[in-house]
Amino acid sequence: MKRSVLLVVNGDKHEMFIEPNLTLLGLLRENLNLKGAKEACGIGACGACTVIMDGKPVNACIVLAVEAEGKEIETIEGLAEGNDLHPLQRSFVDHHSFQCGFCTPGTIMTAKAFLNRNPKPSRGCQGNVNSHTLMTTIFQGVNKRGVADHE
């Protein structure tokens, strides 16, 4: 039995009529044609599908679209301000923080949620870019294998 959901994605309101078993990832990729979040494992183990829901990172492949009712979703497509990359995106480019890039949108969204909670994680350093430098060093190693455990 289809149900209607209302959610906000990257600031845009969407009212949709969907199957109850549709995942948030399915809604984003198939219904809204936002292809940035990727499916790599389908069981919430790898983080390639990470988007931000009401400020928290979620694995969109194991969140039902109906759970997103009334929520604000941020995806990689909404991160840049017009033509200006978000500092995290810039930092990923400047630090060679990706190879094949398949998990990069999910990794960046995880990092963004982390920095939202924790805007100055490294003592005395200048916010995002520098703290991201540290994360990049970690991610450099894992990004091809991509299994970025969020914890």
């Binding site: 940035g36 494992c41 990359l85 480019v93 890039g101 998990c103 190693g141």
Partner: protein, 791 residues
Amino acid sequence: MSEFRYVTKGINRTDGELIVTGRAMYACDMELPGMLVAKILRSPYSHARIKGINTDKAKGLEGVKAVISGADIGYRRFSFIDTPAFPADQTPLAVDKVRFAGEEVAAVAAVNEEIAAKALDLIEVEYEELPSVFDPEEAMKEGAPAIHEIVKPNTTTAWEDFGVPSSKSRPYKTVNNISNKNLIQYGNIEKGFEEAEYIREDRFEIPSTSHVAMEPHVAVASFQPTGKLDVWLTHMGYEHKRFWLAKLLDIPISKVRVHKTYVGGAFGGKISIFPFEFIAAYFSRVTLRPVKIILPREEVFAGCPPSRRMIVYLKTGVKKHGRITAQQVKLIDDVGAYRRSSPTALYLAHFFRNPIYSIPSIKHEGYGVYTNKLYTSAKRGHSLSQMVFAVEAQLDMICDELGLDKVEMRFKNFRKKGDTLPNGDKLRSYGLPECLKEAAEKIGWEEKYGKEKFRGLGIGTASMFSGAHNFPFSSAAMIRLNHDGRMILYTGQTEFGIGVDTVMAQIASEVLNCPLDYIVVNSGDSEVSPHDLGNWLSGGIFVSGEAVRRAALDLRDQMLKHAATGLDIPIEDLEMKGGWIIPGSDKSKRLSFSDMSRYGIQMAGGDPFIGKGYVKCVPEVHFWKGKYNKTASLSSGKGRFTEAYGLTLAIAHVEVNPETGEVHILEIVIADDCGTPINIKSVEGQIMSQAVMGIGDVLYEEVRISNGIVMNPNLLDYRVPTANDIPKISSIIVDSYEPNGPFGAKEVGESPRAAVISAISNAICNAIGERIYDLPMTSDRIKRALRSKST
């Protein structure tokens, strides 16, 4: 390196913005109007005769557009290797019987995934189960269940199509499940062992590991009413894909277009053709609608080939001072249900490690053996890691037995720069001794070795081709000048994580001495780019990059020649700099590249200025209409393979908890001879990612198969390293210059993984003072080894 302007620099990826905004288009992102979704029914049995398939109910389901089984497709055979001696043994859908659990039996194309899945449930297959054999050494015995009786080619083989000199294709009769074998010998093995003062014999076993490319396997196919096939694939080079799609569908190669896609990792796992790709194309042809197949991760694990399972019997003879006199290898490649690349693997297992040590006498015999398990294939350094794992482990054991210094022993046996290998390959660059020297210093070998309880040090080595003489045997590139003075560079290289567009632009910019953004790269489109070797056997930079360099040189020469005529100034007086052609005698007469485009059109009869460049993998190898020279043989190892070898040496420092068996890697140092690094940052990234992959190979990873069933087909049960597992990893690029490579560059994308695997595993064994012969070295295995030591 300072004389370079663009090459060697760690320039940011020119397509970086595309990736970080989620705009890079992967095959799984492709949408086309009216696109159908296809799904595959796979065998639950590891060995069974198919007595009948009824697809009527599935066909009757609303929304289903086509259903096929092996009976519709018949014996259209394909394989990674398809030679007259080893003809292709696999079909896209099982015809008469299934040979592994997970084999493709039938497929459905429907308007959406849900309907396709429902339709699969409605397909009725009647199986008659047959006895299975899972252990390759059992499978080789008389009386074991026969998996393939006889393979009868019904077309020419791929090698005949490629023009490789060989006899006509003939049936392959399988005896004792042996799918293929090879024998490589040189020196005098008996005499070599007679001269030895110490001989060791050991057995090692290496399981399959998955590539875990983050993007699962995907095919999107769109067959046009005009007879053309457009495809978007997860791949590592379009030539093999379009060759096989054309052959299996009986359409001209030129009518198959492999479009550019970003590929979410490959590591050898996406090479050559797969059944699902044929199925997507076939469905598109019969429905005249675009068709998409995305394999779920479980099907990638249980239906697509992981790395090769190998058993290595190794016998080495040495003098008391450590010089190796002879080495004998018996290699058993447990190929699974289909042979795929095993003939290649068996010879690569020898040749990838041949440049490391100078061993006067070698006997290397290999057997590919069919079993009723998931078939296997290449993974980053095809067979290299399996072989050097065994060789380096045994060298460490020999050193322990004879009280030899492990560093010195390796120095004593290394080959030398300028050496010619027994098959004629030359080591024009050879930085392995420098790698060992620098890595040992960096990690503090002398200060630490043997002085720390439950800590250990281990060395690993590796070498790898820089491209090999395989179809299409050469790479070419084109570069075209535009009205604005910018250039479009066409290369067939595929982007699956190596930064192709960036490094190729760096090479062209270096030659043309123009800003990097003057070069727009169009890569990986089979209809636009000239032929290309593809991104496997590590020929990307050495072969295709050199083709780009030569194309840029050709364009440069054309522009300078016309500039000299146009300005009436001798060509020797002209210099290219910063996107200008500048006469040394009168700089005010300088011409922009845009001026040259106009000159070509207005004054040179409309000349568009197109530069072309091409490189043969091994120039001296050729075959054409009965003329041939130095053609390589997979079975005997004779003939030339490559023009340059990349080399790696890794040292790992680990700590083992004797109570829990847990390994804590303290540090890994990887010294690499890749010649000139074209982009230092991407070279470091390549090395880093292989170190991480190697950690997984040693500590955790194994595609566990029990009674033919893959037991861990998902990313929760199949553990790979995550951020918390990454130790301090340093890379050292030793000073080296490969004379035949573009600006002195050669391979870097495959050999570090093998070196890291050996280094970590040797370090673990050094830490616990006991040898473990099998991978992975899990905490359970380590605890067992420690227990056996104490009893």
